[in-house]
Symmetry: C2
Subunit: 332 residues, 2 copies
Protein backbone atom coordinates (compact mmCIF):
# COMPACT_ATOMS: atom_id res chain seq x y z
CA UNK A 1 0.00 0.00 0.00
CA UNK A 2 1.38 3.42 -0.99
CA UNK A 3 1.24 6.24 1.58
CA UNK A 4 1.54 10.00 1.16
CA UNK A 5 2.41 13.04 3.24
CA UNK A 6 0.31 16.15 2.45
CA UNK A 7 0.99 19.58 3.97
CA UNK A 8 -1.03 22.78 3.97
CA UNK A 9 1.45 25.58 4.79
CA UNK A 10 -0.39 28.73 5.85
CA UNK A 11 0.72 32.11 7.12
CA UNK A 12 -0.20 31.49 10.77
CA UNK A 13 -0.34 27.67 10.96
CA UNK A 14 0.77 24.58 9.09
CA UNK A 15 -1.22 21.32 8.91
CA UNK A 16 0.18 17.96 7.78
CA UNK A 17 -1.65 14.69 7.15
CA UNK A 18 -0.25 11.21 6.52
CA UNK A 19 -2.65 9.14 4.40
CA UNK A 20 -3.03 5.99 2.35
CA UNK A 21 -3.91 5.74 -1.34
CA UNK A 22 -7.44 4.74 -0.27
CA UNK A 23 -7.82 8.11 1.46
CA UNK A 24 -7.47 6.87 5.03
CA UNK A 25 -5.82 9.55 7.15
CA UNK A 26 -3.37 7.80 9.49
CA UNK A 27 -1.79 10.76 11.29
CA UNK A 28 -2.27 14.50 11.63
CA UNK A 29 -0.05 17.31 12.90
CA UNK A 30 -0.25 21.04 13.28
CA UNK A 31 2.49 23.65 13.82
CA UNK A 32 3.22 27.35 13.32
CA UNK A 33 3.30 29.44 10.16
CA UNK A 34 4.89 27.79 7.13
CA UNK A 35 4.96 30.68 4.69
CA UNK A 36 8.53 31.61 3.71
CA UNK A 37 7.50 35.19 2.85
CA UNK A 38 6.32 35.97 6.39
CA UNK A 39 8.47 33.45 8.33
CA UNK A 40 11.65 33.31 6.32
CA UNK A 41 12.85 30.10 4.73
CA UNK A 42 14.32 28.50 7.88
CA UNK A 43 11.28 29.36 10.00
CA UNK A 44 8.97 27.97 7.36
CA UNK A 45 10.88 24.70 6.93
CA UNK A 46 10.94 24.25 10.73
CA UNK A 47 7.14 24.51 10.77
CA UNK A 48 6.74 22.10 7.87
CA UNK A 49 9.00 19.53 9.53
CA UNK A 50 7.32 19.94 12.94
CA UNK A 51 3.84 19.34 11.49
CA UNK A 52 5.18 16.44 9.40
CA UNK A 53 6.79 14.70 12.39
CA UNK A 54 3.54 14.90 14.32
CA UNK A 55 1.56 13.53 11.36
CA UNK A 56 4.02 10.65 10.88
CA UNK A 57 4.10 9.92 14.63
CA UNK A 58 5.32 6.39 15.37
CA UNK A 59 4.04 5.16 12.04
CA UNK A 60 7.42 5.48 10.32
CA UNK A 61 8.26 7.55 7.35
CA UNK A 62 7.86 5.18 4.42
CA UNK A 63 5.82 7.11 1.88
CA UNK A 64 5.80 7.91 -1.78
CA UNK A 65 5.84 11.71 -1.89
CA UNK A 66 5.35 14.99 -0.04
CA UNK A 67 2.69 17.30 -1.45
CA UNK A 68 3.08 20.84 -0.20
CA UNK A 69 0.31 23.37 -0.70
CA UNK A 70 1.63 26.86 -0.15
CA UNK A 71 1.12 30.49 -1.02
CA UNK A 72 3.64 31.66 -3.54
CA UNK A 73 3.77 28.45 -5.55
CA UNK A 74 2.98 30.79 -8.43
CA UNK A 75 5.43 33.42 -7.20
CA UNK A 76 9.17 33.68 -7.43
CA UNK A 77 9.92 31.85 -4.20
CA UNK A 78 12.83 29.42 -3.78
CA UNK A 79 10.43 26.45 -3.67
CA UNK A 80 13.18 24.15 -4.92
CA UNK A 81 14.91 24.67 -1.56
CA UNK A 82 11.96 22.99 0.17
CA UNK A 83 12.28 20.08 -2.21
CA UNK A 84 16.02 19.74 -1.55
CA UNK A 85 15.57 19.87 2.23
CA UNK A 86 12.86 17.21 2.34
CA UNK A 87 14.84 14.93 0.07
CA UNK A 88 18.10 15.49 2.04
CA UNK A 89 16.27 14.49 5.22
CA UNK A 90 15.27 11.23 3.54
CA UNK A 91 11.65 12.18 3.96
CA UNK A 92 10.59 11.62 0.39
CA UNK A 93 11.71 10.61 -3.05
CA UNK A 94 9.52 13.32 -4.53
CA UNK A 95 8.28 16.72 -3.31
CA UNK A 96 5.42 18.35 -5.18
CA UNK A 97 4.71 22.03 -4.64
CA UNK A 98 1.13 23.06 -5.29
CA UNK A 99 -0.66 26.38 -4.98
CA UNK A 100 -2.50 26.87 -1.68
CA UNK A 101 -5.35 28.12 -3.82
CA UNK A 102 -5.68 24.75 -5.52
CA UNK A 103 -5.39 23.03 -2.11
CA UNK A 104 -8.25 25.21 -0.81
CA UNK A 105 -10.37 24.34 -3.87
CA UNK A 106 -9.82 20.59 -3.43
CA UNK A 107 -10.69 20.85 0.25
CA UNK A 108 -14.25 21.39 -0.97
CA UNK A 109 -14.50 19.00 -3.90
CA UNK A 110 -12.82 16.07 -5.66
CA UNK A 111 -13.94 17.38 -9.07
CA UNK A 112 -11.41 18.96 -11.40
CA UNK A 113 -13.35 22.01 -12.59
CA UNK A 114 -14.84 24.95 -10.75
CA UNK A 115 -14.16 28.14 -8.87
CA UNK A 116 -12.62 29.14 -5.56
CA UNK A 117 -12.93 32.44 -3.69
CA UNK A 118 -10.78 32.84 -0.56
CA UNK A 119 -11.15 35.94 1.63
CA UNK A 120 -9.06 35.87 4.80
CA UNK A 121 -6.58 38.68 5.40
CA UNK A 122 -6.29 38.84 1.61
CA UNK A 123 -8.71 37.99 -1.20
CA UNK A 124 -8.13 35.84 -4.25
CA UNK A 125 -10.29 33.96 -6.77
CA UNK A 126 -9.42 31.19 -9.19
CA UNK A 127 -10.94 29.23 -12.02
CA UNK A 128 -9.84 25.60 -11.95
CA UNK A 129 -9.85 23.79 -15.29
CA UNK A 130 -8.77 20.16 -15.65
CA UNK A 131 -7.17 20.29 -12.19
CA UNK A 132 -5.01 23.35 -12.97
CA UNK A 133 -5.30 27.06 -12.17
CA UNK A 134 -6.61 28.53 -15.42
CA UNK A 135 -7.22 32.07 -14.16
CA UNK A 136 -6.47 33.94 -10.93
CA UNK A 137 -7.84 37.35 -9.91
CA UNK A 138 -6.61 39.66 -7.13
CA UNK A 139 -4.46 38.15 -4.37
CA UNK A 140 -2.32 41.21 -5.06
CA UNK A 141 -1.68 42.09 -1.40
CA UNK A 142 -2.81 44.88 0.90
CA UNK A 143 -1.12 47.72 -0.99
CA UNK A 144 -2.35 46.78 -4.48
CA UNK A 145 -5.64 45.01 -3.86
CA UNK A 146 -7.03 42.20 -1.69
CA UNK A 147 -10.21 44.22 -2.03
CA UNK A 148 -13.00 43.33 0.38
CA UNK A 149 -10.91 41.00 2.60
CA UNK A 150 -9.66 41.30 6.19
CA UNK A 151 -6.98 43.97 5.80
CA UNK A 152 -9.26 45.99 3.53
CA UNK A 153 -12.14 45.75 6.02
CA UNK A 154 -9.97 46.75 8.98
CA UNK A 155 -8.51 49.63 7.02
CA UNK A 156 -11.99 50.87 6.02
CA UNK A 157 -13.08 50.64 9.67
CA UNK A 158 -10.26 52.82 11.03
CA UNK A 159 -10.54 55.28 8.13
CA UNK A 160 -14.28 55.63 8.78
CA UNK A 161 -13.56 56.31 12.45
CA UNK A 162 -10.86 58.90 11.64
CA UNK A 163 -13.35 60.62 9.30
CA UNK A 164 -16.20 60.49 11.83
CA UNK A 165 -14.01 62.12 14.50
CA UNK A 166 -13.33 65.29 12.48
CA UNK A 167 -16.69 65.47 10.71
CA UNK A 168 -15.58 64.32 7.25
CA UNK A 169 -17.68 61.19 7.68
CA UNK A 170 -20.94 60.26 9.34
CA UNK A 171 -21.00 59.31 13.03
CA UNK A 172 -20.73 55.55 13.56
CA UNK A 173 -20.84 53.04 16.39
CA UNK A 174 -17.49 51.80 15.06
CA UNK A 175 -15.84 54.82 16.72
CA UNK A 176 -16.53 53.56 20.24
CA UNK A 177 -15.36 50.05 19.38
CA UNK A 178 -12.10 51.15 17.75
CA UNK A 179 -11.24 53.66 20.49
CA UNK A 180 -11.97 51.04 23.18
CA UNK A 181 -9.79 48.51 21.34
CA UNK A 182 -6.92 51.03 21.41
CA UNK A 183 -7.57 52.30 24.97
CA UNK A 184 -8.37 55.81 23.75
CA UNK A 185 -10.74 57.98 25.76
CA UNK A 186 -13.27 59.77 23.59
CA UNK A 187 -13.60 63.41 24.56
CA UNK A 188 -14.73 65.06 21.33
CA UNK A 189 -14.84 68.51 22.88
CA UNK A 190 -11.09 68.79 23.36
CA UNK A 191 -9.07 70.20 20.45
CA UNK A 192 -5.31 70.88 20.38
CA UNK A 193 -4.23 73.22 17.58
CA UNK A 194 -7.60 72.58 16.00
CA UNK A 195 -7.37 68.79 16.06
CA UNK A 196 -9.79 66.58 18.04
CA UNK A 197 -7.90 64.89 20.89
CA UNK A 198 -9.20 61.37 20.26
CA UNK A 199 -8.16 61.62 16.60
CA UNK A 200 -4.67 62.70 17.60
CA UNK A 201 -4.40 59.63 19.84
CA UNK A 202 -5.80 57.43 17.06
CA UNK A 203 -3.09 58.70 14.68
CA UNK A 204 -0.32 57.95 17.18
CA UNK A 205 -1.59 54.44 18.00
CA UNK A 206 -2.35 53.38 14.41
CA UNK A 207 1.10 54.35 13.14
CA UNK A 208 2.68 52.29 15.92
CA UNK A 209 1.19 49.22 14.21
CA UNK A 210 2.55 47.44 11.17
CA UNK A 211 0.08 48.25 8.35
CA UNK A 212 -1.06 44.63 7.95
CA UNK A 213 -2.17 44.60 11.61
CA UNK A 214 -5.15 46.77 10.63
CA UNK A 215 -6.90 43.48 9.80
CA UNK A 216 -7.54 43.10 13.53
CA UNK A 217 -10.27 45.76 13.23
CA UNK A 218 -12.14 43.79 10.53
CA UNK A 219 -14.39 41.83 12.95
CA UNK A 220 -15.72 45.10 14.42
CA UNK A 221 -17.66 45.83 11.23
CA UNK A 222 -19.77 42.72 11.88
CA UNK A 223 -20.17 43.53 15.59
CA UNK A 224 -22.36 46.63 15.21
CA UNK A 225 -26.06 46.60 14.30
CA UNK A 226 -28.15 49.19 12.43
CA UNK A 227 -25.07 51.25 11.61
CA UNK A 228 -25.13 52.85 8.16
CA UNK A 229 -21.33 53.28 8.00
CA UNK A 230 -20.67 49.62 8.88
CA UNK A 231 -23.40 48.44 6.49
CA UNK A 232 -21.81 50.45 3.69
CA UNK A 233 -18.37 48.90 4.35
CA UNK A 234 -19.90 45.39 4.28
CA UNK A 235 -21.75 46.20 1.03
CA UNK A 236 -18.56 47.44 -0.60
CA UNK A 237 -16.71 44.34 0.62
CA UNK A 238 -19.32 42.13 -1.05
CA UNK A 239 -19.14 44.27 -4.21
CA UNK A 240 -15.36 43.90 -4.35
CA UNK A 241 -15.36 40.14 -3.67
CA UNK A 242 -18.10 39.62 -6.29
CA UNK A 243 -15.96 41.61 -8.73
CA UNK A 244 -12.97 39.36 -7.93
CA UNK A 245 -14.89 36.10 -8.31
CA UNK A 246 -16.73 37.44 -11.36
CA UNK A 247 -13.43 38.15 -13.09
CA UNK A 248 -12.57 34.42 -13.26
CA UNK A 249 -16.04 33.04 -14.10
CA UNK A 250 -16.27 31.86 -17.68
CA UNK A 251 -19.69 31.49 -19.28
CA UNK A 252 -20.38 27.88 -20.15
CA UNK A 253 -17.67 26.55 -17.85
CA UNK A 254 -19.48 24.88 -14.97
CA UNK A 255 -17.99 23.50 -11.78
CA UNK A 256 -18.06 23.45 -8.02
CA UNK A 257 -17.94 26.76 -6.15
CA UNK A 258 -15.67 26.73 -3.07
CA UNK A 259 -15.50 29.56 -0.51
CA UNK A 260 -12.79 29.87 2.13
CA UNK A 261 -11.34 32.44 4.54
CA UNK A 262 -12.91 33.94 7.63
CA UNK A 263 -14.66 36.82 5.83
CA UNK A 264 -16.72 34.24 3.89
CA UNK A 265 -16.96 31.35 6.35
CA UNK A 266 -17.76 33.22 9.59
CA UNK A 267 -21.28 34.60 9.73
CA UNK A 268 -22.13 34.09 6.11
CA UNK A 269 -23.64 37.50 5.35
CA UNK A 270 -20.81 38.43 2.99
CA UNK A 271 -20.85 35.01 1.31
CA UNK A 272 -24.60 35.27 0.68
CA UNK A 273 -24.22 38.81 -0.67
CA UNK A 274 -21.44 37.71 -3.04
CA UNK A 275 -23.42 34.80 -4.50
CA UNK A 276 -26.54 37.00 -4.80
CA UNK A 277 -24.56 39.54 -6.84
CA UNK A 278 -23.24 36.80 -9.14
CA UNK A 279 -26.46 34.74 -9.42
CA UNK A 280 -26.79 35.30 -13.16
CA UNK A 281 -23.13 34.75 -13.93
CA UNK A 282 -22.88 31.67 -11.70
CA UNK A 283 -26.09 30.31 -13.18
CA UNK A 284 -24.68 30.68 -16.67
CA UNK A 285 -21.43 29.02 -15.64
CA UNK A 286 -22.53 26.21 -13.42
CA UNK A 287 -26.29 25.80 -13.31
CA UNK A 288 -28.29 27.39 -10.50
CA UNK A 289 -27.52 24.73 -7.90
CA UNK A 290 -23.79 25.41 -8.12
CA UNK A 291 -24.34 28.93 -6.79
CA UNK A 292 -24.43 27.37 -3.31
CA UNK A 293 -20.78 27.43 -2.26
CA UNK A 294 -18.97 24.68 -0.36
CA UNK A 295 -17.24 26.27 2.65
CA UNK A 296 -13.70 25.18 3.53
CA UNK A 297 -11.66 26.15 6.57
CA UNK A 298 -8.15 25.30 5.38
CA UNK A 299 -6.34 23.49 2.61
CA UNK A 300 -5.20 20.24 4.24
CA UNK A 301 -7.95 18.06 2.72
CA UNK A 302 -7.10 19.54 -0.67
CA UNK A 303 -3.38 18.88 -0.18
CA UNK A 304 -4.30 15.24 0.50
CA UNK A 305 -6.56 15.11 -2.58
CA UNK A 306 -3.73 16.56 -4.69
CA UNK A 307 -1.23 14.04 -3.29
CA UNK A 308 -3.39 11.19 -4.60
CA UNK A 309 -4.44 12.80 -7.89
CA UNK A 310 -0.91 13.81 -8.88
CA UNK A 311 0.20 10.19 -8.40
CA UNK A 312 -2.55 8.99 -10.70
CA UNK A 313 -4.90 7.74 -7.94
CA UNK A 314 -8.55 8.34 -8.81
CA UNK A 315 -10.29 10.40 -6.15
CA UNK A 316 -14.03 9.79 -6.31
CA UNK A 317 -16.85 10.58 -3.89
CA UNK A 318 -15.96 7.54 -1.76
CA UNK A 319 -12.25 8.38 -1.45
CA UNK A 320 -13.04 12.07 -0.81
CA UNK A 321 -15.53 11.10 1.88
CA UNK A 322 -12.96 8.79 3.47
CA UNK A 323 -10.36 11.61 3.58
CA UNK A 324 -12.71 14.15 5.17
CA UNK A 325 -14.17 11.70 7.69
CA UNK A 326 -10.96 10.05 8.83
CA UNK A 327 -9.26 13.46 9.05
CA UNK A 328 -12.15 14.86 11.12
CA UNK A 329 -11.74 11.92 13.52
CA UNK A 330 -7.99 12.62 13.89
CA UNK A 331 -8.63 16.31 14.51
CA UNK A 332 -11.09 15.70 17.33
CA UNK B 1 14.61 98.54 13.42
CA UNK B 2 13.69 95.04 14.61
CA UNK B 3 14.46 92.11 12.30
CA UNK B 4 13.08 88.57 12.25
CA UNK B 5 14.06 85.13 10.97
CA UNK B 6 11.15 83.06 9.61
CA UNK B 7 11.50 79.42 8.53
CA UNK B 8 9.13 77.10 6.63
CA UNK B 9 10.32 73.56 7.39
CA UNK B 10 8.85 71.10 4.89
CA UNK B 11 9.29 67.38 4.28
CA UNK B 12 11.48 67.76 1.18
CA UNK B 13 12.83 71.31 1.53
CA UNK B 14 13.25 74.11 4.06
CA UNK B 15 12.97 77.82 3.28
CA UNK B 16 14.19 80.65 5.53
CA UNK B 17 13.72 84.40 5.17
CA UNK B 18 15.33 87.26 7.10
CA UNK B 19 13.04 90.29 7.17
CA UNK B 20 12.42 93.66 8.79
CA UNK B 21 9.36 94.73 10.77
CA UNK B 22 8.21 96.70 7.69
CA UNK B 23 8.05 93.44 5.73
CA UNK B 24 11.22 93.95 3.68
CA UNK B 25 12.83 90.58 2.99
CA UNK B 26 16.60 91.05 3.35
CA UNK B 27 17.84 87.50 2.77
CA UNK B 28 16.53 84.13 1.63
CA UNK B 29 17.87 80.58 1.90
CA UNK B 30 16.74 77.10 0.94
CA UNK B 31 17.97 73.69 2.10
CA UNK B 32 16.85 70.06 2.42
CA UNK B 33 13.95 68.54 4.37
CA UNK B 34 13.38 69.99 7.83
CA UNK B 35 10.73 67.64 9.16
CA UNK B 36 11.97 65.70 12.22
CA UNK B 37 9.50 62.86 11.55
CA UNK B 38 10.99 62.02 8.15
CA UNK B 39 14.53 63.36 8.66
CA UNK B 40 15.19 62.70 12.33
CA UNK B 41 15.91 65.53 14.75
CA UNK B 42 19.57 66.05 13.81
CA UNK B 43 18.88 65.98 10.07
CA UNK B 44 16.02 68.44 10.51
CA UNK B 45 18.05 70.88 12.62
CA UNK B 46 20.89 70.73 10.09
CA UNK B 47 18.46 71.78 7.35
CA UNK B 48 16.98 74.57 9.46
CA UNK B 49 20.41 75.97 10.26
CA UNK B 50 21.63 75.67 6.64
CA UNK B 51 18.64 77.60 5.30
CA UNK B 52 18.97 80.16 8.12
CA UNK B 53 22.68 80.80 7.44
CA UNK B 54 21.93 81.44 3.77
CA UNK B 55 19.07 83.80 4.65
CA UNK B 56 21.24 85.72 7.14
CA UNK B 57 24.17 85.84 4.70
CA UNK B 58 26.61 88.59 5.54
CA UNK B 59 23.87 90.65 7.11
CA UNK B 60 24.68 89.53 10.61
CA UNK B 61 22.42 87.73 12.99
CA UNK B 62 20.94 90.45 15.11
CA UNK B 63 17.23 89.71 15.17
CA UNK B 64 14.39 89.49 17.58
CA UNK B 65 13.07 85.93 17.15
CA UNK B 66 12.95 82.80 15.04
CA UNK B 67 9.52 81.74 13.84
CA UNK B 68 9.44 78.14 12.71
CA UNK B 69 6.49 76.79 10.74
CA UNK B 70 6.53 73.01 10.77
CA UNK B 71 4.35 69.94 10.45
CA UNK B 72 3.76 68.35 13.79
CA UNK B 73 3.54 71.58 15.77
CA UNK B 74 0.25 70.12 16.90
CA UNK B 75 1.74 66.65 17.35
CA UNK B 76 3.83 65.17 20.09
CA UNK B 77 7.18 66.16 18.66
CA UNK B 78 10.14 67.36 20.74
CA UNK B 79 9.70 70.91 19.42
CA UNK B 80 11.33 72.33 22.57
CA UNK B 81 14.59 70.77 21.36
CA UNK B 82 14.52 73.07 18.33
CA UNK B 83 14.02 76.02 20.64
CA UNK B 84 16.94 74.97 22.86
CA UNK B 85 19.27 74.47 19.91
CA UNK B 86 18.54 77.83 18.32
CA UNK B 87 18.97 79.63 21.61
CA UNK B 88 22.18 77.71 22.44
CA UNK B 89 23.62 78.81 19.10
CA UNK B 90 22.92 82.41 20.04
CA UNK B 91 20.64 82.71 17.05
CA UNK B 92 17.67 84.12 18.88
CA UNK B 93 16.29 85.15 22.22
CA UNK B 94 12.96 83.59 21.34
CA UNK B 95 11.91 80.67 19.12
CA UNK B 96 8.25 80.39 18.17
CA UNK B 97 6.95 77.13 16.76
CA UNK B 98 3.89 77.48 14.56
CA UNK B 99 1.86 74.95 12.59
CA UNK B 100 2.87 74.64 8.93
CA UNK B 101 -0.85 74.76 8.22
CA UNK B 102 -1.12 78.26 9.69
CA UNK B 103 2.04 79.26 7.78
CA UNK B 104 0.44 78.02 4.55
CA UNK B 105 -2.74 80.00 5.31
CA UNK B 106 -0.81 83.23 5.94
CA UNK B 107 1.14 82.73 2.71
CA UNK B 108 -2.13 83.59 0.98
CA UNK B 109 -3.53 86.34 3.19
CA UNK B 110 -2.74 88.75 6.02
CA UNK B 111 -6.28 88.42 7.40
CA UNK B 112 -6.86 86.44 10.57
CA UNK B 113 -9.95 84.43 9.60
CA UNK B 114 -10.56 81.95 6.83
CA UNK B 115 -9.91 78.46 5.55
CA UNK B 116 -6.95 76.52 4.18
CA UNK B 117 -6.94 73.29 2.19
CA UNK B 118 -3.54 71.74 1.48
CA UNK B 119 -3.27 68.66 -0.76
CA UNK B 120 0.28 67.55 -1.49
CA UNK B 121 1.30 64.00 -0.57
CA UNK B 122 -1.24 64.30 2.25
CA UNK B 123 -4.44 66.34 2.61
CA UNK B 124 -5.50 68.59 5.47
CA UNK B 125 -7.98 71.43 5.96
CA UNK B 126 -8.22 74.08 8.67
CA UNK B 127 -10.50 76.82 9.86
CA UNK B 128 -8.52 79.82 11.10
CA UNK B 129 -10.27 82.00 13.66
CA UNK B 130 -8.62 85.05 15.20
CA UNK B 131 -5.23 83.89 13.94
CA UNK B 132 -5.46 80.42 15.55
CA UNK B 133 -6.33 76.95 14.24
CA UNK B 134 -9.94 76.50 15.36
CA UNK B 135 -10.64 73.23 13.53
CA UNK B 136 -8.52 70.77 11.55
CA UNK B 137 -9.81 67.93 9.36
CA UNK B 138 -7.88 64.95 7.95
CA UNK B 139 -4.09 65.21 7.78
CA UNK B 140 -4.27 61.74 9.32
CA UNK B 141 -1.59 60.16 7.10
CA UNK B 142 -1.64 57.62 4.29
CA UNK B 143 -2.88 54.68 6.38
CA UNK B 144 -5.79 56.49 8.08
CA UNK B 145 -6.79 59.16 5.58
CA UNK B 146 -5.16 61.92 3.52
CA UNK B 147 -8.07 61.18 1.21
CA UNK B 148 -7.80 62.59 -2.29
CA UNK B 149 -4.15 63.71 -2.02
CA UNK B 150 -0.94 62.49 -3.65
CA UNK B 151 -0.46 59.15 -1.91
CA UNK B 152 -4.17 58.40 -2.23
CA UNK B 153 -4.12 59.23 -5.96
CA UNK B 154 -1.02 57.12 -6.63
CA UNK B 155 -2.47 54.24 -4.68
CA UNK B 156 -5.76 54.42 -6.62
CA UNK B 157 -3.79 54.46 -9.88
CA UNK B 158 -1.81 51.27 -9.15
CA UNK B 159 -4.88 49.52 -7.70
CA UNK B 160 -6.86 50.37 -10.85
CA UNK B 161 -4.05 48.94 -12.98
CA UNK B 162 -3.82 45.74 -10.90
CA UNK B 163 -7.60 45.33 -11.29
CA UNK B 164 -7.56 46.05 -15.02
CA UNK B 165 -4.86 43.40 -15.56
CA UNK B 166 -6.93 40.51 -14.16
CA UNK B 167 -10.33 41.74 -15.34
CA UNK B 168 -11.70 42.94 -11.98
CA UNK B 169 -11.65 46.49 -13.29
CA UNK B 170 -12.18 48.23 -16.61
CA UNK B 171 -9.30 48.58 -19.07
CA UNK B 172 -7.48 51.91 -18.69
CA UNK B 173 -4.71 53.87 -20.37
CA UNK B 174 -3.12 54.08 -16.89
CA UNK B 175 -1.96 50.47 -17.33
CA UNK B 176 0.51 51.35 -20.08
CA UNK B 177 1.84 54.34 -18.15
CA UNK B 178 2.35 52.45 -14.87
CA UNK B 179 3.96 49.42 -16.54
CA UNK B 180 6.29 51.70 -18.54
CA UNK B 181 7.22 53.58 -15.35
CA UNK B 182 8.19 50.25 -13.75
CA UNK B 183 9.85 48.77 -16.86
CA UNK B 184 7.32 45.96 -17.08
CA UNK B 185 6.54 44.44 -20.46
CA UNK B 186 2.83 43.97 -21.02
CA UNK B 187 2.07 40.55 -22.46
CA UNK B 188 -1.47 39.89 -21.26
CA UNK B 189 -1.60 36.50 -22.92
CA UNK B 190 0.96 34.89 -20.67
CA UNK B 191 -0.31 33.33 -17.42
CA UNK B 192 1.73 31.43 -14.82
CA UNK B 193 -0.36 29.30 -12.46
CA UNK B 194 -3.36 31.28 -13.64
CA UNK B 195 -1.89 34.71 -12.98
CA UNK B 196 -1.24 37.29 -15.73
CA UNK B 197 2.52 37.79 -16.10
CA UNK B 198 2.46 41.60 -16.08
CA UNK B 199 0.43 41.56 -12.85
CA UNK B 200 2.94 39.22 -11.23
CA UNK B 201 5.74 41.64 -12.14
CA UNK B 202 3.65 44.57 -10.87
CA UNK B 203 3.23 42.84 -7.49
CA UNK B 204 6.97 42.21 -7.17
CA UNK B 205 7.94 45.77 -8.12
CA UNK B 206 5.32 47.57 -6.02
CA UNK B 207 6.23 45.68 -2.83
CA UNK B 208 9.88 46.64 -3.34
CA UNK B 209 8.78 50.26 -2.76
CA UNK B 210 8.09 51.91 0.57
CA UNK B 211 4.29 52.40 0.68
CA UNK B 212 4.53 56.22 0.67
CA UNK B 213 6.43 56.06 -2.64
CA UNK B 214 3.14 55.22 -4.38
CA UNK B 215 2.58 58.99 -4.56
CA UNK B 216 4.95 59.02 -7.55
CA UNK B 217 2.13 57.52 -9.65
CA UNK B 218 -0.28 60.38 -8.82
CA UNK B 219 0.69 62.61 -11.79
CA UNK B 220 -0.21 59.81 -14.23
CA UNK B 221 -3.91 60.25 -13.48
CA UNK B 222 -3.72 63.76 -14.97
CA UNK B 223 -1.61 62.60 -17.95
CA UNK B 224 -4.32 60.51 -19.67
CA UNK B 225 -7.23 61.92 -21.67
CA UNK B 226 -10.73 60.50 -22.20
CA UNK B 227 -10.12 57.67 -19.77
CA UNK B 228 -13.12 56.72 -17.64
CA UNK B 229 -11.01 55.05 -14.92
CA UNK B 230 -8.73 58.10 -14.52
CA UNK B 231 -11.70 60.48 -14.62
CA UNK B 232 -13.38 58.48 -11.85
CA UNK B 233 -10.25 58.66 -9.66
CA UNK B 234 -10.05 62.46 -10.16
CA UNK B 235 -13.77 62.80 -9.34
CA UNK B 236 -13.35 60.80 -6.13
CA UNK B 237 -10.29 62.87 -5.22
CA UNK B 238 -12.34 66.07 -5.57
CA UNK B 239 -15.18 64.48 -3.57
CA UNK B 240 -12.80 63.58 -0.74
CA UNK B 241 -11.05 66.96 -0.67
CA UNK B 242 -14.43 68.76 -0.70
CA UNK B 243 -15.49 66.55 2.20
CA UNK B 244 -12.31 67.50 4.09
CA UNK B 245 -12.67 71.24 3.48
CA UNK B 246 -16.42 71.06 4.08
CA UNK B 247 -15.82 69.54 7.52
CA UNK B 248 -14.15 72.74 8.79
CA UNK B 249 -16.44 75.30 7.13
CA UNK B 250 -18.71 76.99 9.63
CA UNK B 251 -21.84 78.75 8.39
CA UNK B 252 -21.65 82.48 9.04
CA UNK B 253 -17.89 82.45 9.54
CA UNK B 254 -16.43 84.20 6.52
CA UNK B 255 -12.79 84.49 5.54
CA UNK B 256 -10.17 84.02 2.90
CA UNK B 257 -9.88 80.63 1.19
CA UNK B 258 -6.29 79.43 0.66
CA UNK B 259 -5.35 76.36 -1.40
CA UNK B 260 -1.90 74.76 -1.37
CA UNK B 261 -0.17 71.54 -2.39
CA UNK B 262 0.54 70.23 -5.89
CA UNK B 263 -2.81 68.42 -6.28
CA UNK B 264 -4.58 71.78 -6.00
CA UNK B 265 -2.02 74.19 -7.47
CA UNK B 266 -0.89 72.25 -10.56
CA UNK B 267 -3.44 72.16 -13.36
CA UNK B 268 -6.36 73.43 -11.34
CA UNK B 269 -8.98 70.88 -12.38
CA UNK B 270 -9.20 69.41 -8.87
CA UNK B 271 -9.25 72.86 -7.23
CA UNK B 272 -12.12 73.97 -9.49
CA UNK B 273 -14.03 70.74 -8.79
CA UNK B 274 -13.59 71.18 -5.01
CA UNK B 275 -14.88 74.77 -4.97
CA UNK B 276 -17.77 73.83 -7.29
CA UNK B 277 -18.84 71.08 -4.85
CA UNK B 278 -18.72 73.54 -1.94
CA UNK B 279 -20.21 76.57 -3.71
CA UNK B 280 -23.24 76.71 -1.43
CA UNK B 281 -21.32 76.10 1.77
CA UNK B 282 -18.55 78.56 0.86
CA UNK B 283 -21.15 81.15 -0.17
CA UNK B 284 -22.87 80.80 3.19
CA UNK B 285 -19.58 81.13 5.04
CA UNK B 286 -17.73 83.77 3.10
CA UNK B 287 -19.87 85.39 0.45
CA UNK B 288 -19.68 84.18 -3.16
CA UNK B 289 -16.47 86.03 -4.05
CA UNK B 290 -14.54 84.16 -1.36
CA UNK B 291 -15.09 80.87 -3.20
CA UNK B 292 -12.16 81.84 -5.43
CA UNK B 293 -9.16 80.39 -3.61
CA UNK B 294 -5.75 82.06 -3.26
CA UNK B 295 -3.10 79.56 -4.36
CA UNK B 296 0.10 79.24 -2.32
CA UNK B 297 3.20 77.20 -3.15
CA UNK B 298 4.84 76.97 0.27
CA UNK B 299 4.61 78.44 3.76
CA UNK B 300 7.58 80.84 3.87
CA UNK B 301 5.53 84.03 3.32
CA UNK B 302 3.17 82.86 6.06
CA UNK B 303 6.05 82.15 8.44
CA UNK B 304 7.21 85.75 7.84
CA UNK B 305 3.67 87.09 8.43
CA UNK B 306 3.46 85.09 11.67
CA UNK B 307 6.87 86.39 12.81
CA UNK B 308 5.56 89.96 12.62
CA UNK B 309 2.05 89.31 13.93
CA UNK B 310 3.22 87.31 16.95
CA UNK B 311 5.48 90.22 17.92
CA UNK B 312 2.53 92.62 17.76
CA UNK B 313 3.42 94.15 14.38
CA UNK B 314 0.33 94.95 12.35
CA UNK B 315 0.43 93.24 8.97
CA UNK B 316 -1.83 95.08 6.54
CA UNK B 317 -2.14 94.95 2.75
CA UNK B 318 0.94 97.19 2.35
CA UNK B 319 3.17 95.08 4.61
CA UNK B 320 1.89 91.82 3.09
CA UNK B 321 2.54 93.19 -0.40
CA UNK B 322 6.05 94.23 0.63
CA UNK B 323 6.80 90.73 1.98
CA UNK B 324 5.60 88.93 -1.16
CA UNK B 325 7.26 91.34 -3.60
CA UNK B 326 10.64 91.62 -1.87
CA UNK B 327 10.72 87.83 -1.35
CA UNK B 328 9.88 87.19 -5.02
CA UNK B 329 12.81 89.47 -5.96
CA UNK B 330 15.19 87.48 -3.69
CA UNK B 331 13.98 84.18 -5.12
CA UNK B 332 14.62 85.15 -8.73
Amino acid sequence: MTNYLAIDAGGTSTRAVFLSARGECLGYGISGGGNPVSRGFEGAIDSLLAASEKALGGIGNRFHSVTLGMAGASLELPTHLFQQRFITLGLAHEVLIESDLLAAFYSGTYQDNGYALIAGTGAVAARVTDSRLAAVADGTGWLLGDDGAGFWLGSQVVRAVAAALDGRGAPTALTGLVLAELDITLDPGVRTQGRVGAQQQLIVKIYELAPIELSRFAPLVFAVRDDAVAADIIERSADALAQTLGAVIEAGTPGTLVFGGSVLTKGGAVAAAVTARLADKLGAASGPEAAVPVLVHDGVVGAAVLALKRDGVEVDAAVFGRITESLAALRD
